[in-house]
Subunit: 242 residues, 6 copies
């Protein structure tokens, strides 16, 4: 039986095209522009040769990593006012950058990093669904590029970062689908974001049904689709890094 294709011609378990444009911001230690379908995010990693004050005062060994996420004003269909003009960071951005930070702290060996802070900036150039998963997937690549540079400069012996990727899955019109674009996301009854490492383990799993609820059966199907997508993403990241 032939599967009914999605509006953009994809199968249910098919990712949108993925492309990385490295060194988009050359002053950063590592950077890449991840283009995932029509979603584009600048991911840049900057190294600071010191650790936050709270680590200094508690004499915690090793380093730290922190993430910031922001949507550029022209990234959305309707222009988005800059946070500084509201004197308040957008609530959704706060939530997303906390997710990115938690994720990266799971795959980074903070002790092996040494007494440094890594700043990971994810700035959305164009939003067409999945900006948080694109940020995580791209941030890993930028992080790996930055670690390669630190290694070449003799500052670290081996990369303290292990692979991680993220993907969205959802139920649209009763049908589970991988990697929703904006249109699909807006019509989805369930939206799940999955973050996994290179060994098939979960790091974060966030499923939400704002207008609806979901069953254990849905959950199972979404996890299966998500795992499949993560596998492919991890492979694409490796290709982009070699």
């Amino acid at each position: 039986m032939t599967e009914i294709l999605r509006p953009d011609g994809r199968r249910s378990d098919e990712l949108r095209p993925l492309r990385f444009q490295h060194h988009i911001a050359p002053h950063a230690t590592g950077s890449t522009l991840i283009e995932w379908g029509k979603t584009r995010v600048i991911c840049a990693v900057t190294v600071e040769e010191s650790v936050p004050k709270w680590m200094q005062s508690k004499k915690i060994p090793g380093g730290w990593i922190t993430a910031e996420y922001s949507m550029l004003p022209y990234s959305t269909l309707e222009r988005k006012t800059r946070d500084i003009n509201k004197l308040k960071q957008d609530g959704r951005s706060v939530e997303i950058q906390r997710l990115i930070g938690r994720t990266l702290r799971t795959v980074l060996d903070l002790e092996a990093l040494g007494s440094r802070t890594l700043w990971v900036d994810c700035d959305v150039l164009q939003a067409d669904g999945g900006t948080r998963t694109a940020s995580i997937t791209g941030a890993y690549v930028a992080l790996a590029l930055a670690m390669k540079k630190l290694g070449a400069e003799g500052k670290i012996l081996s990369s303290p970062v292990k692979p991680v990727a993220a993907v969205s899955v959802g139920v649209v019109g009763q049908r589970p689908m991988l990697d929703l674009n904006y249109e699909e996301d807006a019509g989805a009854s369930v939206d799940m974001n999955l973050v996994m490492n290179g060994e098939g383990e979960f790091i974060e799993l966030q499923a939400s049904g704002e207008e609806s609820t979901f069953s254990a059966v849905h959950l199972e199907e979404l996890l299966r689709l998500g795992r499949h997508g993560i596998g492919e993403l991890l492979q694409r990241q490796q290709e982009a890094l070699t």
Copy 2:
């Protein structure tokens, strides 16, 4: 075989004692103080007889519900500076109040509510783990009390709110456990928050392993424990409301 009990004498699948003290804030339309183990949260619902401007300008029928979460400065072991003194809402609070708001919008029939805004405030009086799940579980009770009052005043015909409860589960020392207190939460390798409705369907599921990762097997066990806890919570809410 006898199960090894937890530090506070509970079994793995046992909730901490739960108690509701209604009308803690009598100026609110509905309010309750939920005491869940040593965690205490004031949940209060205030009704405003108008809708937000964005709904007015787009002429969207029905009402709206929004949530605010905050920790009182003396709720934590070390005093927590008030947000206003930093001119910035705490990032974790932003994340939690967004979760509460999304959850309540799933179980509330906004059209049946009529042209009103419900403000749900959750202020933590004492934090000992699980403040976000206590907020959701208590908010439902406060919401039901508020709807009862609106009904008695002839403003609504029947309650537009359906039951919802939330519970945390986690893996502590390789062992899955229900309803973590602060000490257990701090030592957990996986932390999951589960929000479910009265029909056994999922509303939100957030699992995170900041220092670690988790497998599909863990996920399965945690979901089983969580479902069990939700069932009991839904029952306790009904008792508290009758």
Copy 3:
């Protein structure tokens, strides 16, 4: 001659019922919920084992005490927006917390306190007039409880705090009255807040006639009523502490 009673059945010189619910916030060093008529304020004292930077840099011996006052959003008849959403502390709150702080610095022996900071938080749960006087009256009780605990822990030898209480008096319809509730306060032509210590001395006296003025005769009567109320309050505080 029989006195005409007030709407709630009180005589002109009669306080509303007073009740203290200790340890409302167990993570604080000392706390109480003062319920004064329908006014309810959470008073909590937290001890920090260091002093502010300006004292450190000037090498001032002893400790410090500071107060913060806030109205919870559901404490008023119409919901009050949280300060953080306006990025500005409410002007009335600023005025009140300065009054509480000044008062407590008068009755606390800062040198005997030792090199510590006491944070006094007053959060209004329900406002029905007299929240500033309830805050001061309750703050003393919370402070005494906190000092008792410090004493039990061997951190201080004897309590460095002396009794203090506060009460409002006012002229309503030409008639001087003790302890105004919200309705009386709204209709008062003169409003006075009196803060006195256990030896019958004045600490603060603030009298204001926003819509009207007052004579020296009024002042005399109000002071007499106020002194009477303070005497009773000091007694009720001692009972609550033993």
Copy 4:
């Protein structure tokens, strides 16, 4: 018996020299620079031909008056950082401008003012004690000048403002004194600010003993001194206005 004079040669009941320099800010409707000893405050009244939104929406007839108080950075012995650089209005300024506003609302007939807003700005050019009482005393003069101008323009029939003046009194080294300068104020055990109208009635009375307490006897003496000072100030204001 000869009285021991104060450091600047004044008797206990003597005011510092007072001088008004009108029209210091010609774009304001009325303005004066009050020089009271070494204290200098710019008082300016601006008329806006509309009322605040909350009056418009509640259809309250008449006008409104509001006050703002600020210390210029070079007005103090040590330079004072501008509020905007801290993103927070100074707490003491908030308290003072609320006092000025309440006072002026007592002596202004808001209905007779017509549908206008009066902005009263008090900017301290030099602070040497008594800036809040100088602000009130000067604000009345600026207000009277502004009303004179509105009258000349045919916008009001007669001045809706009645005289008001304010003075500080205090106990320094057990001795009650009128009109404290900065040095005396810093050493005072009691500090009282008195606001009275032209008919000898009280408008505001604020007495505080931060490091100390005060008795009813002190209160009586301070009131007597204050009343005496107010009488003289009211006269000086009239002279300045004719």
Copy 5:
């Protein structure tokens, strides 16, 4: 006589290589990434089909244009903290975006634009000197692309924008030079930014000698170099637009 070349091999009157990458942000109405030497700025124009409130209330015909400038955190050699984390827009950014806005209002026929607002965003991806002149030069290109699109949609009849370009000139080691990069800029004794239109007229001229001063002779030479550069830039813009 052979001219001594600059560190990057350029002559005194030679521009750095210039490249435009159009449609970098496809959700914007017009956008381009201007790469000028190592300086890279995203210039994006968004159209809003309404005008600011102050224009509406004053019933001013035509449209409006406003500019925002910001440096992405990884655009500088040392990471730049985001404005929102300081709750304050960077002073230099304020100055630059005011310059961009003034400039564009000179070359845009606001009446011909119709009742619309154009938002021009300039986000620096990499800073190597001349970001404000790159912003203006790129903004014109983005603006022309946006107008082309409005024209194709039949919203405007002909483009209401005329050409404008900007370039920096400076004196480095007594020698006037065109188009300074970061290293040259840091060592310059005079720094001038020149904004000119397509008819060889000046729009803005800002010359500054922070560590030094400059003579009328210097000014003359700098203007000559600048005019030459502007001519070339105007040509490059036209090539990029066809």
Copy 6:
């Protein structure tokens, strides 16, 4: 041929009357009220006996100077809201205070100043055009007064400040004019601000044609007029200082 005079009776190359009122703010180290036509600016210099943290940490020798510019609310024809009430410094003020700071750093020998910070505050009391040039011209006088005082106190050997003055020039109705007042400024097609030192060298030159453009010929004429005005201003400053 007789020149047609300007509305206030001045010739094209004539300055408005200039007057200095020294020691307007006696707590400052040096201060003056510059009255330039109807424009009035308080210029005050405060000395702080330490340098900013960034200089301390980089061990940069010498001192620092920084400027702040603000318009008092009653300085404009329509009352200007205070920055603190918008939680945002006015953009124009940011631009102007950066200009004042850069200018003063050019004429101050920071090393000779010693390890001090000079705060230069310019507060506009009345605005009638040319407030930025009045600020610079007055700031130099206040600075010279402050240095005289430091010299008298034996803190510096000779004044580390050299003369600087600023003036505006513009084209109004095709006619170049010196020192525009508000009315002329509002109608000008070109507006130039010129900052020069005592040796006839340029420090800053900012020319802008918001509604129009200007030619090299205009530029030449404006520079000639400006130079003439600066010469006169430098003389007036010297007179005011002796």
